[in-house]
């Protein structure tokens, strides 16, 4: 009797628990793949922009100023009659390349410094931590202003500036991750088996901190895209007439009442892209989070 009752209860529990446990996980997976798909679409459009049957993003069709969607201009045209779809795609090229190359710069410099600081500790670590504190204390907008003023506004200068600005955060992540692994026994074991510093850093530590670093890198990509947009919006970013999402929003501001799409289309593209990078980064971060071993 008792056993059958217990068995019955367990069966009831199973039925109740399963759908609740299954839904968020599968929903999370769906969102993750949607985000990956969006990034893939934007990235391939940006890469293939030259071969796509698009009108030039700087060609002005003055008859179609602020026009709505038509066969000639699928998404309409901006205040100067330039094709919005074309500008969006070429803008993605600039936004994405700045958004990816700048954090890569930060990843290489910051990740390297952070690993060395976390592994060797001592005076070098003090120096690195002090250095990134100085960099963090410096107002980023002022730094961006200073560089663009003295070195000129170009994609390269913007990328380098944003790269420098992403160094401190990535250094911290790399150092923190290295600190937790450097004290682990397998590092002592490797040393006891005769591994040198280089091998311990590259073969023992790097594979372990790669996932948290990449997860954070993706979040940095999202932030950099927004910052690049903000700089362009302020007129400090990519110089016109080259299209960038932030610059397009700034230009669309003047005709918000007449043709809101001119500002909202690039804003939407930026929103979705940043959201997608955040989603993917969050997912990867969750995978490395020891508190959520179930994922």
């Amino acid at each position: 009797m008792v056993y059958s009752i217990r068995g019955f209860d367990l069966a009831a529990l199973d039925v109740e628990v399963e759908p609740i446990a299954a839904t968020p996980a599968s929903r999370g997976r769906l969102v993750f793949w949607l985000a990956v798909a969006w990034i893939a679409i934007v990235a391939s459009a940006a890469i293939a922009a030259d071969w796509l049957p698009l009108t030039s993003p700087t060609d002005m069709d003055l008859l179609a100023r602020r026009a709505g969607p038509s066969a000639d201009h699928w998404l309409g045209a901006d205040a100067l009659g330039r094709d919005l779809l074309s500008r969006l795609v070429f803008g993605a090229r600039i936004s994405l390349s700045v958004g990816l190359i700048a954090p890569v710069l930060g990843l290489i410099v910051g990740g390297g410094l952070g690993m060395l600081a976390g592994y060797f500790r001592g005076r070098f670590e003090t120096l690195v931590v002090g250095g990134i504190d100085v960099l963090l204390a410096f107002p980023p907008l002022v730094l961006a202003l200073a560089i663009t003023t003295y070195l000129g506004q170009s994609v390269l200068n913007i990328t380098i500036t944003l790269g420098i600005l992403s160094i401190p955060a990535l250094t911290r992540v790399a150092r923190a991750a290295t600190l937790t692994f450097a004290e682990r026994e397998f590092v002592t074991a490797a040393r006891a088996l005769g591994a040198g510093h280089g091998r311990i850093l590259m073969r023992e530590l790097l594979p372990n901190i790669a996932l948290p670093l990449i997860a954070f890198f993706l979040l940095a990509v999202a932030v950099i895209i927004v910052v690049e947009g903000a700089l362009s919006f302020l007129g400090l970013g990519i110089p016109p007439p080259a299209p960038s999402w932030g610059g397009m929003i700034a230009e669309g501001r003047d005709s918000l009442d007449a043709a809101p799409a001119i500002a909202f289309l690039p804003a939407g593209a930026m929103f979705l892209t940043v959201l997608a990078f955040n989603m993917v980064g969050d997912r990867l971060r969750a995978l490395t989070d020891p508190r959520q071993g179930v994922l």
């Binding site: 500790r121 026994e185 397998f186 040393r191 006891a192 040198g196 073969r203 594979p207």
Partner: protein, 327 residues
């Protein structure tokens, strides 16, 4: 005694700076180990066993201060250049750590971990290293070694992981193997298998071994000599058989008495050693075990006993009031 031993540790001390003052983890330890012999080091948690093994390899924590000398094969390790030391580790002296969950890198396949150690020390190409890795896995009793090479540590059981760790340690035919509590993290049924494996491989390779453990039972049948450590010092050392028959140090006696006996009636209280080991940051003037010792006298609390040999037996002990030889 004319031949230099494989390993000679002389007056080895390790001091660790702590917020509460200097902590003496290892206190003037002397050890000798001949080639092909095995030594058991027994002591409770915090007695300095692990720190001793790290100090032998010059792998003590960053801020630790080492004193004394470590001679391996006549070579002074304490002054050896970092590069020479690195070549020695893994090649001539290898270590098996306590917990195979943490001593293997979680994100590298075990094949990669074995091959890397091999290629670090021996001038062999990748294919030869892989063949050697398969041989090693067979030697440590891992079934289907080719497939296991592609596995990650978390895909193996604890016992299997420790076998892999032993395979890595044995890979370069070391002359001395330091096994630091190799079975503490393992299931009891696996413990004997791992210990037998270590003993078998030691004999086959004529390799010297230091077996560090807190379990007196483990060293009993498997080592030539046993050293008992307490509060960083060696308090008694003797050939294994003699130690168990004629121990002189009350601490050794208490350790042995604390092992549960199978023939004891159920619910017999274990004669545990009361109290705790002394605070290693505050050094006692007398014998470190005196506060917990049931034979203590005034002299034990005032003067530190030193290791005294019993002539002609290889037995040494540090005690003012040794237990008499058992009849």
């Amino acid at each position: 005694m004319t031949d230099p031993p494989l390993l000679a540790v002389e007056q080895l001390s390790v001091d660790l700076p702590t917020p509460r003052g200097r902590l003496r983890a290892v206190d003037e330890v002397d050890l000798r180990l001949e080639a092909g012999c095995s030594l058991g080091v027994v002591g409770e948690s915090g007695s300095g066993k692990t720190m001793l093994s790290r100090a032998i390899l010059q792998l003590a924590p960053r801020h630790a201060r080492l004193g004394g000398r470590v001679l391996f094969d006549g070579q002074e390790l304490t002054t050896l250049a970092a590069e020479a030391l690195r070549r020695l580790r893994g090649r001539s002296i290898a270590v098996v750590f306590q917990d195979p969950m943490t001593s293997l890198n979680p994100v590298l396949t075990i094949g990669r971990q074995i091959v890397e150690t091999l290629r670090e020390h021996l001038a062999i190409d990748a294919a030869a290293a892989k063949r050697r890795a398969v041989e090693l896995l067979v030697e440590v009793g891992i079934p289907a070694p080719e497939q296991q090479l592609r596995q990650y540590p978390h895909q193996l059981s604890g016992g299997m992981r420790q076998r892999v760790a032993i395979a890595i340690a044995l890979s370069c035919e070391p002359r001395l193997l330091i096994a630091d509590e190799p079975t503490t993290a393992l299931d009891v049924t696996i413990q004997a298998q791992i210990l037998d494996l270590l003993a078998r491989e030691r004999q086959r390779r004529n390799m010297a071994m230091i077996l560090i453990t807190h379990d007196v039972g483990i060293v009993a049948g498997r080592t030539d000599e046993v050293a008992v450590m307490y509060a960083g010092r060696i308090v008694e050392r003797a050939p294994t058989g003699r130690l168990f028959k004629a121990m002189r140090m009350p601490y050794t006696e208490a350790l042995l008495a604390a092992i549960p006996k199978l023939d004891a009636p159920p619910h017999t209280p274990l004669p545990a050693i009361s109290g705790r080991p002394p605070d290693p940051t505050r050094r006692l003037p007398g014998c470190a075990f005196a506060p917990r010792c049931c034979y203590r006298a005034a002299r034990c609390e005032e003067h530190k006993p030193s290791l005294t040999p019993i002539e002609g037996t290889g037995h040494e002990y540090a005690c003012w009031h040794p237990i008499g030889p058992r009849v």
